[in-house]
């Protein structure tokens, strides 16, 4: 799965946690999940759990701590998908 395909799937994971869903149309690697997308920081853990289920991966706590932006989120997912194969 390439980064573009992961991003499209990731948008579906982020959507339930966003008040203004139109922001999803203009995200890039630098978009900050809490500052730009206004996602409640408590919900980051729910997003990680949802992403684990979606990609059938396990995101350990050290990797989870690296997730701040859409780009770092995709990085972690790519890494974990590689570990799985």
């Amino acid at each position: 799965m390439n980064r573009k395909a992961i991003l499209e799937e990731l948008k579906k994971v982020l959507s339930p946690y966003m008040v203004n869903k139109e922001m999803l149309n203009s995200v890039n690697d630098d978009t900050d999940l809490t500052k730009d997308l206004k996602i409640n920081s408590a919900n980051l853990i729910d997003i990680i759990i949802d992403a684990e289920n979606k990609y059938d991966i396990e995101i350990d706590m050290d990797s989870a701590e690296k997730i701040h932006t859409v780009g770092t989120c995709i990085d972690v997912i790519v890494d974990k998908l590689k570990e799985r194969t």
Binding site: P16, Y17, A42, N43, I45, D46
Partner: protein, 426 residues
């Protein structure tokens, strides 16, 4: 205005999620027409419970879409919290307020009570943990497991900035919440309080009562007849779920904002029988009940003769007789002189912690619209009751009647009592 305005507390808004109706207009129609909210629950039969009847509000999570963002809705599973949000937000709007996500109302607080936090949420926690999936619990579990869950959701939704309290006193919870809010306002600690209670009876809560053999079990296939307070064929209570809330406020504060005033709270009292003199964990000490009623009457500054209506606790157990005896003793009224008396539980069952607040909403509606709702399923009043009270005081049909002063009481496990006195606003 003849009475002084100082220290008076009035009711200005109401919301209700009851087994026989959701929302005030539907609830008014239901209680005037003796509409039962009790249903046969096939699951309870499959689980080999003795009783298969429960009061279940016609509520859907979609009812909250006007009040909650999609983000908040996503992950909200706690039913008692959902009921509480619906009832309190409806009451807040009914009182002429709006929900504004910037303002903090420093003069307004809440007292919202419940018995148990959501046991179905607890079951999900236990199941995930036992299956070694603890890391999948996520961020939304704690807020729905904590006893103050409903209080936390509601105070956040409405922006309440005064004291936000969660109380718990078993079946006296709802009326105690109203009394606490009343006392805070009366003593100048808050100008306005959102008060009420909620309860969700899931199979686990139901089973715990069922096992005590105190539930109605002889009307499993005729559920609307299953709750029979004061009747010869009463055989236990029927649990129910729901919530209700009232907005109560300092009279001057209410008048200053041109609020519509529904009724006045004249006073009340809450105590315990100390589990002595016949009282126990599950049975009331009659002396405690009498003390509670007489003190409430005294605190309200009324004479016992002026009470037009008693909204009883009256669950359809052996305690009905103790309750009626205690009212007669406390008010020194019996026979034809006993006040008109009804039990909403005949229609909706016993909503445990939610009972007091739902029944208080019914009392306020009877004062506002000048009627006495019927006692359904009372075609065979128990002789222990009719030895004390004339059957004329126990209406089985809707009665149009001027109700100036009404007394409301609830009694709970732990031998706790609460009594409140309400009046028409003059």
């Amino acid at each position: 205005m003849t009475n002084s305005m100082k220290g008076r507390v009035v009711v200005t808004g109401m919301g209700v999620v009851s087994p026989n109706a959701v929302g005030i207009p539907a609830f008014l129609h239901a209680i005037q027409n003796g509409v039962s909210g009790l249903k046969f629950v096939p699951q309870y039969e499959q689980l080999h419970f003795n009783s298969h009847v429960c009061g279940i509000p016609p509520f859907q999570f979609d009812d909250l879409r006007n009040y909650l963002s999609e983000v908040t809705m996503y992950g909200l599973k706690g039913m008692a919290i959902a009921y509480a949000i619906k009832a309190t937000a409806d009451a807040w709007i009914d009182a002429g307020n709006s929900i504004d996500d910037t303002q903090v109302h420093e003069e307004t607080g809440c007292v919202l009570g419940n018995s148990v936090a959501d046991t179905e949420t607890m079951k999900r926690v236990i199941t995930l943990v036992d299956e070694m999936h603890a890391r999948k619990l996520g961020s939304r579990v704690v807020e729905q497991l904590m006893n103050s869950g409903a209080t936390a959701y509601v105070s956040g939704l409405l922006g309440l900035g005064n004291r936000t309290i969660t109380n718990s006193a078993a079946c006296a919870t709802g009326s105690q919440a109203v009394l606490m809010g009343y006392e805070y306002i009366k003593h100048g600690m808050a100008k306005r309080m959102v008060v009420g209670s909620n309860e969700y009876v899931d199979p686990y809560v139901f089973a715990a009562f069922d096992s005590m053999r105190i539930l109605s079990r002889k009307f499993n296939h005729d559920p609307e007849k299953a709750s029979r307070p004061m009747s010869a064929t009463a055989g236990g209570f029927v649990p129910g779920s729901g919530a209700a809330a009232l907005v109560i406020e300092d009279l001057e504060f209410a008048l200053a904002r041109n609020a519509t005033i529904y009724a006045e709270i004249l006073g009340g009292y809450t105590n315990s029988g100390g589990q002595r003199s016949g009282g126990s964990m599950t049975a009331p000490n009659p002396d405690g009940i009498v003390k509670c009623i007489t003190t409430a009457v005294k605190n309200a500054g009324i004479k016992p003769e002026s009470i037009d209506l008693i909204s009883g606790h009256l669950t359809a157990t052996a305690a009905d007789k103790i309750e009626i005896e205690s009212w007669a003793l406390a008010l020194r009224r019996k026979g034809d002189n006993f006040p008109l008396t009804n039990s909403l539980k005949s229609m909706i069952g016993h909503c445990l912690s939610a009972a007091g607040s739902i029944e208080i909403v019914a009392v306020i509606l009877q004062i506002m619209h000048q009627f006495v709702h019927p006692n359904i399923n009372l075609e065979d009043p128990h002789k222990d009751i009719t030895e004390i009270v004339s059957i004329n005081s126990l209406p089985t049909k809707l009665l149009n009647k001027d109700i100036h002063i009404a007394a409301k009481a609830n009694f709970g496990f732990g031998d706790v009592n609460t009594c409140l006195i309400f009046s028409k606003f003059k």
